[in-house]
């Protein structure tokens, strides 16, 4: 199996890479902040974040602030390990 096959398919999309990158260096990040940081639409963020949640790479917290619902994201230990692995493969690919 070549190194290319080892790249995590879950991280193929730019949006997912972006979500993971932001969460690697921050604690909880809420929906609006994530959306502005990545410069994407609501629907786009919602679909990619739920895919990452399904893989158990991120944790999603839904709460109410006053009467407004607020969604926040945090990376899980599994997600952190998977992303680090993905990064090191990418770096290895660049070197070879």
């Amino acid at each position: 199996m070549g190194i290319i096959d080892k790249l995590n398919k879950d991280f193929e999309s730019r949006v997912r890479l972006g979500i993971m990158s932001v969460l690697m260096v921050n604690d909880w990040v809420d929906f609006t902040e994530m959306k502005t940081l990545l410069n994407i639409t609501d629907g786009n963020l919602a679909s990619h974040s739920s895919a990452l949640e399904k893989s158990e790479y991120i944790e999603v917290k839904k709460e109410f602030v006053g009467k407004k619902p607020k969604t926040s994201y945090q990376v899980t230990p599994l997600g952190r390990a998977a992303f680090k692995e993905h990064l090191s493969y990418l770096e290895k690919l660049m070197k070879s």
Binding site: R14, L17, M20, S21, N39
Partner: protein, 210 residues
């Protein structure tokens, strides 16, 4: 062969994207160099005005003798300090908001809050310390203390904004330390630290991150 090349380019872009997203989300990068320049100008003008004020009041500043300030002069000095602070803050915010709008960067993010919090803690402690110095009549130590605490605050906030800012912090700290031993010249050190250094740093940053 060509597909490998295309893949290679995609991976390279992926890495660049990861790096930029990490940077954008964890550091307050809207800070404009012009903010530094105008904060420096405010301090420079304020400092020179105080120098003039001392002259008019017949206070020989450049001696190490203990100077006695009248109550009205002390309150005027405090007001000048507050005005400089407000000017620096207003200019600083204006140019930074302008830069973030221009580059479409979000402003009120967790990185911004972290930076402001880390900046505010040493500054608040320093502010109280200086008020205590004034309260007890140790006027000569106020200017060196503002440099010291400001330097510490900047070094503390460095991890949440451009890391070059730490050089500004260390320079302010060093100036503060030296001026503790040359109290007669502390106005000069103050003008150098808050005026000249800010302008120089602001210009360098403006050129580097334009």
């Amino acid at each position: 062969m060509q597909s490998t090349l295309i893949m290679n380019q995609k991976h390279q872009e992926d890495l660049a994207h990861i790096r930029s997203m990490m940077e954008r989300s964890s550091r307050f990068i809207s800070l404009s160099g012009l903010s530094g320049v105008f904060a420096g100008l405010s301090a420079l003008i304020g400092g020179l005005y105080v120098y003039q004020l001392f002259k008019v009041n017949g206070i020989e500043y450049f001696t190490d003798e203990h100077i006695i300030l009248s109550g009205s002069l002390v309150s005027e000095l405090i007001w000048i300090g507050v005005i400089i602070l407000v000017c620096a803050f207003v200019f600083g915010t204006f140019f930074t908001v302008r830069k973030s709008k221009k580059y479409n960067l979000p402003i009120w993010t967790s990185a911004t809050k972290n930076m402001l919090f880390n900046l505010a803690v040493p500054l608040a402690a320093g502010g109280i310390f200086c008020l205590a110095l004034i309260y007890h009549g140790y006027y000569g130590l106020v200017a060196p203390s503002t440099l010291l605490f400001y330097g510490l605050a900047v070094i503390n906030a460095e991890k949440y904004t451009f890391s070059d800012i730490k050089y500004l912090g260390f320079s302010e700290l060093l100036l503060g330390c030296i001026s503790l031993f040359y109290i007669g010249y502390s106005l000069l050190f103050w003008i150098l630290g808050f005026g000249i250094l800010h302008i120089a740093y602001g210009l360098v940053m403006f050129k580097k991150y334009k």
